[in-house]
C-alpha cells in the first residue's frame, strides 16, 4: 500500500475543503440551523411544541448535518469528476490500487461529516438554550456511534456518487436524500411511529434511522430510543453494504 500517495490525496481534499470553507459552512449549517430556530425556538416558544422537543430535536439535526455533509463531500465530486470533468483520472493513474482512492474519499468524507457533527452541537445549543438537556453518560459509545454515522454518510456518498448520472443529481436529492431524512426519525423518535406499525417496520431499511436513534440513545438517553446493540448492528451492516456496493461501482466507473 502506497501511504504517501494516499496521504497526498487526503491533503489535496483538505486543501480544497479549506479553500471552499465559507461556502461549505453555509451549505452544511444554514438549512439545519434555520430548522432548529423555527421548530426549536419559534414553535416551542409560541407553545405549539412541548419544551422537551428542543432536546429531542438536537440529535436528529446532528444526524442530518453529518449525513448531508458526508454525502455531499463524497458523492458530488465523484459524479462530476467521473463524468463531465474527468478530474479524477489523474488520481486514478497515481501509483496506488484504485480501491484505495475510493477509501481515501470515504476517509475524507468521514472526517468532514465528523467535523460538521461536532460543530453543529454548540451552534444548535446556542440557538435552542435554555431548555436543552444533553446527557452523555457513555462518551466512548457516543464517539463510536458518531464515527459510524459519519462513515455511513461517506460510504453512502460513495455508493450514490458511483451510481448516479450527472443529469440526475436533482432526482438523487428528491428521490433518495429527502425521503431518507423525512423517514429517518430525524425530527421524531422511532417510537413515535408506534401508531403506524407498517411504517415503523418499513423505515428500518433506512440507515438514517439507526444514525438518528443512535445519537439520540447516546446524547439524550432519557427519551425513548432503539437499543444500542440494534443501532450498532444496523450502522455496521449498512456501512459494510454501502462500502461494498460503492467499491464495486467505483471499479466499474474507473475501468471500462
Amino acid at each position: 500500500m502506497n501511504w504517501k500517495a494516499f496521504f497526498a490525496m487526503l491533503a489535496r481534499d483538505a486543501h480544497v475543503a479549506r479553500r471552499n470553507f465559507v461556502a461549505l459552512l453555509f451549505q452544511t449549517f444554514l438549512q439545519p440551523l434555520m430548522f432548529v430556530f423555527i421548530f426549536g425556538r419559534v414553535m416551542v416558544g409560541s407553545g405549539y411544541m412541548p419544551p422537551s422537543y428542543k432536546s429531542l430535536l438536537l440529535p436528529g439535526i446532528m444526524a442530518i448535518c453529518m449525513v448531508g455533509t458526508g454525502i455531499w463531500a463524497v458523492a458530488m465530486p465523484l459524479i462530476a469528476e467521473f463524468q463531465f470533468t474527468r478530474e479524477i483520472e489523474d488520481r486514478l493513474l497515481a501509483p496506488m490500487e484504485i480501491s484505495w482512492l475510493a477509501i481515501e474519499k470515504v476517509v475524507a468524507g468521514t472526517l468532514q461529516a465528523l467535523a460538521a457533527g461536532f460543530m453543529v452541537i454548540p451552534a444548535a445549543w446556542l440557538l435552542l438554550r435554555p431548555g436543552v438537556n444533553l446527557n452523555v453518560p457513555h462518551p466512548l459509545l457516543f464517539t463510536l456511534v458518531a464515527v459510524l454515522v459519519a462513515l455511513f454518510s461517506a460510504t453512502g456518498g460513495l455508493a450514490l456518487g458511483c451510481s448516479m448520472q450527472q443529469t440526475h443529481i436533482g432526482l438523487m436529492f428528491s428521490l433518495i436524500v429527502a425521503p431518507m431524512i423525512f423517514f429517518g426519525c430525524t425530527y421524531y423518535p422511532w417510537s413515535a411511529l408506534e401508531k403506524f406499525p407498517v411504517l415503523q417496520k418499513a423505515v428500518l431499511v433506512n440507515p438514517l434511522v439507526y444514525a438518528s436513534e443512535g445519537l439520540r440513545a447516546t446524547m439524550i438517553p432519557q427519551f425513548p430510543h432503539l437499543p444500542s446493540y440494534a443501532v450498532l448492528a444496523g450502522l455496521v451492516f449498512f456501512n459494510a453494504l454501502l462500502l461494498a456496493v460503492g467499491l464495486r461501482n467505483f471499479h466499474g466507473k474507473s475501468v471500462t
Binding site: 502506497n2 500517495a5 480544497v16 489523474d90 497515481a94 496506488m96
Partner: protein, 339 residues
C-alpha cells in the same frame, strides 16, 4: 530504467456503452441489465493489436477517429480492461502489475482532465506528491515545467479560466512531472495553435532525447511524419501498416495518387489508364471515381484527359496528392483519414 511497450494480440470488445456515453439510464446499484431478450450490442474496438515499441523510441498510432487508438492507450495505461491478449510496459504486465506500471508511465488524455479545484502550480505539486516526490523536488520541478510550457505568469490562478491550449500544455507538463519512462500522448495537438504545436513537438523531441519512450496517437499525418521514428496505421482495431514514415510512404505504389472522377464508369478506360507510362495501379473507387497510383503526378493529367476524351468519357475532377501517409491510408482502406 529504460522501458518499452509490447502488446500481443490485444482485443477489446465493448458490450455496453462507455460510461460517459451511457445514455440517461439514471442510477442503478446493480450491473446494467439488458432489456428483454435483445442481445447486447457489441463494439469491437481492438481486433488483435500486436505492437513492439523499443525503449527510447517515439512511436505513433495514426488512424481516423474510432480506429482504436485511444482504446489501445487506455489498455496500456490501466484504464481499459482488455478482453484478451497481453500488454507490457517494460517487463510489467499492465493488467497484473498496475501499480508498478503506473509508476513508469505519464499520460496525457485526449480530453483535458485537470483538477479544477486547484491552481496550475498546485496541480503539478499535488501530482508530484501522489508519486512520492519530496516537497523540494515538487516545487523545483513544478517551477521548471511551468517555465518550459510558458505558464509561469498564470501559475497561481485556478485552471477553470484557462484556454484550451493552456489546459493542454498544463496536462502535458503534469504528465512529465514525475519524469515517467514512458509518456503517452493521446492526440496532444488537438486544439493547439501552430506556434504551440511547434513548442510541443520541440518538448517531445527533447524529452525523448533523455532516453524516454513516447507513444502518441494522432490523425494528423504531418505530426506523425515530423515526430515519429516508427508508426503504426490502425483502422477498425487492426494494424494495417507498420514501419518508419519513409518506409511506409515508399510502400505506396509509385507514391503519387491521382483521384479522378469521370462522368460515367468505363472499364475499358481503366484498362487504358493502367497502360500509361508511370502508372502502377488503378482502382475504381465509389461511384464514378478512380484512384490512380503512379510515380509522377501533374504530368499524367494531360495523358489521362486525352484517354478519357478518346473514350468519350468526361473527366470531371482531378486531385493530385504527393507521396504521403494519407495516400498510404487510402491505399490500404480505400478511405481518407479525414473521412
Amino acid at each position: 530504467m529504460l522501458a518499452g511497450i509490447r502488446t500481443s494480440d490485444l482485443r477489446k470488445t465493448y458490450n455496453s456503452p462507455p460510461p460517459v456515453a451511457a445514455g440517461t439510464g439514471g442510477f442503478s446499484f446493480g450491473a446494467p441489465k439488458g432489456k428483454g431478450k435483445q442481445p447486447k450490442p457489441e463494439v469491437v474496438a481492438l481486433d488483435g493489436i500486436s505492437l513492439e515499441v523499443s525503449p527510447g523510441e517515439i512511436f505513433c498510432l495514426l488512424g481516423p477517429n474510432g480506429a482504436g487508438k485511444s482504446t489501445t492507450v487506455g489498455v496500456l495505461t490501466t484504464r481499459v480492461r482488455p478482453t484478451s491478449g497481453q500488454a507490457f510496459i517494460g517487463e510489467h504486465d499492465v493488467w497484473k502489475e498496475q501499480v508498478a506500471v503506473k509508476r513508469l508511465i505519464g499520460v496525457v488524455a485526449q480530453r483535458p482532465n485537470l483538477d479544477f479545484s486547484l491552481t496550475a502550480r498546485e496541480i503539478l505539486v499535488f501530482h508530484g506528491a501522489y508519486f512520492g516526490l519530496t516537497s523540494h523536488e515538487r516545487s523545483k520541478r513544478a517551477e521548471a515545467l511551468l517555465d518550459r510550457f510558458k505558464l509561469t505568469d498564470r501559475a497561481d490562478q485556478m485552471v477553470r479560466g484557462f484556454s484550451g491550449g493552456m489546459m493542454q500544455r498544463l496536462s502535458i507538463a503534469r504528465a512529465m512531472m514525475h519524469d515517467p519512462q514512458v509518456l503517452f500522448l493521446d492526440e496532444p495537438s488537438t486544439g493547439l495553435d501552430p506556434q504551440t504545436r511547434l513548442l510541443l513537438w520541440e518538448i517531445v523531441r527533447e524529452y525523448n532525447q533523455s532516453g524516454k519512450t513516447i507513444l502518441l496517437t494522432t490523425h494528423n499525418m504531418e505530426e506523425a511524419d515530423a515526430l515519429c521514428k516508427r508508426l503504426a496505421i490502425i483502422d477498425h482495431g487492426h494494424v494495417i501498416a507498420l514501419g518508419t514514415p519513409r518506409e511506409l510512404k515508399a510502400s505506396v505504389p509509385g507514391g503519387f495518387l491521382l483521384r479522378l472522377r469521370f462522368g460515367q464508369h468505363s472499364p475499358d478506360l481503366l484498362d487504358r489508364l493502367k497502360a500509361l507510362s508511370g502508372v502502377r495501379e488503378v482502382r475504381a473507387s465509389d461511384g464514378d471515381g478512380t484512384d490512380l497510383y503512379a510515380d509522377r503526378g501533374g504530368s499524367l493529367v494531360a495523358d489521362v484527359a486525352s484517354l478519357a476524351s478518346a473514350a468519350g468519357v468526361e473527366l470531371c475532377d482531378v486531385h493530385i496528392s504527393e507521396p504521403s501517409l494519407e495516400n498510404l491510408f487510402l491505399h490500404h482502406t480505400g478511405r481518407s483519414l479525414r473521412e
